[in-house]
Subunit: 249 residues, 2 copies
DNA sequence: AATTTATTTGCAAAATATTGCAATAATGTT
DNA sequence: AACATTATTGCAATATTTTGCAAATAAATT
């Protein structure tokens, strides 16, 4: 068994399951662990893999933070995002609030959609950074570091200067009698304004937030034109909203 | 199970549901909580997540990539940044323009400095995300995707609502007779406003921009109170500005 | 203040790396 | 073909790193 042969086997192994261990290879190749170690070193020097204590791992093709982002797309959010797309038409001005659901929507906007997105969410703006045709207006204000959105009266004023066609809410709690509520006071104030300046309002939600309430009031459920969830519109939990004349998707 | 494997699992877990707990991971990975803690520390050091008591949470959804967009010329920017720090005092309201020099300043602000930073630059805001005591006001407006700053009249209006103690300009061209100029029209308009609303203005520069001019005019050099460069203040290229009464550092 | 819970620190045992060296194999030179 | 030269390999002695444990701190909770 010559070295080149071993190197190839090691590479194959790494590309197959992203890691190899010294002991394992030593046995498989009938050479000492030292030799395997040295082989790995050669490959690591060529940047073909990354040597780690006890073996080697594949050279990650993309930096970690990207990788982390892609997993962020849980199935249900993709479902919701795809449902939203049918509401978006070229030329519209659309408000996006902060939140992972709206972020998922922003990330999945088709490349040829020409809308103007107005948002107070850095992640949303950031997701649209590379989008070729979407115009982004960022509503400034005091930076709320934990959620990376802006809040406060400057943000509210920024929204007040907009007339939007559509407003997309991330997940808040909705309850037929109590109305739309959220956990954060500032967030509630901003959402009130977003509803005010939009012709139409869509709320994204998951089943666990339906028929629940949080501390801060945004408005009655009748402010919502449409509720989009990850489940079938026929779900019985949603019937109360249908009766209230809300479009359930 | 090698360490790299564990790190990957932890990252995946965090990106999936935004948090992990020590006990949970300890069991899943068959290692002690201490080891998990140390693993998390490693990841936290790389800014891939944030360690918290009892586990870890996902780092901000904002991708890092523009935080680290231009890594080059770090040395001279660090020099400049350190010179700036002596101008910053607790309680001040400071305007930061977009640009890699001001970004370097933002990144090197000491942890106990309590100032309010007003900026139209996403990278600057992002760099201050983890800063414990700096308040950030973001000047909203139309997103200028290539530099990831906001521009336009909304941005200018946002700055007009501020009275700042200090304004820190990134690198523009300066010329004793022609004045302060820059390559971009929108940028020039915003910088004019920034000067207007600030008591004091500091320009960061490198030697290659001194005695040069670009297409768009911001104002006469006398608008500048201080010029900070990466070279000695005694450099003869700078003498004209000293004579104009500008503080050279 | 008392109690629980989590973190830090020092430490020792285990696992893994490094280094020098000798034996062997491969290669080149006359 | 015989010889010298060089590279590869395994081994052993010696570092270094990782890991879990326990005691001491620190932080949150009651």
């Amino acid at each position: 068994m010559v070295r080149e042969e071993r190197l190839q086997i090691i590479l194959d192994h790494v590309s197959k399951d992203n890691k190899v261990m010294l002991a394992e290879l030593s046995e498989k190749l009938n050479v000492s662990e030292d030799t395997v170690r040295r082989d790995i070193k050669v490959l690591a020097d060529q940047k073909l893999l990354t040597a780690v204590r006890g073996g080697a791992v594949a050279h990650s093709p993309i930096p970690h933070h990207y990788r982390a982002r892609e997993k962020h797309d849980i199935a249900s959010k993709k479902v919701i995002a795809s449902k939203v797309l049918s509401f978006l038409k070229d030329g519209q001005v659309v408000l996006f609030d902060g939140g992972t659901s709206t972020l998922a929507v922003a990330e999945s906007l088709p490349d040829d959609l020409r809308i103007t997105v107005v948002t107070n969410s850095f992640p949303v703006a950031s997701a649209l950074e590379d989008h070729p045709t979407v115009e982004v207006i960022f509503a400034g204000g005091r930076l709320y570091k934990s959620s990376f959105t802006t809040i406060g009266h400057e943000t509210i004023n920024a929204f007040r200067n907009i007339r939007a066609d559509l407003c997309i809410f991330g997940i808040c709690s909705v309850h037929p009698a109590i109305g739309i509520t959220t956990r954060d006071y500032e967030e509630a104030e901003i959402k009130k304004t977003m509803i005010e300046v939009s012709k139409e309002t869509i709320a994204l939600s998951t089943l666990e937030k339906i028929n629940k309430a949080d501390s801060y009031y945004i408005g009655p459920v009748t402010e919502l034109d449409t509720i989009i969830t990850d489940v079938s519109p026929d779900n019985e939990e949603l019937s109360a909203y249908k009766e209230a004349g809300i479009n359930i998707i």
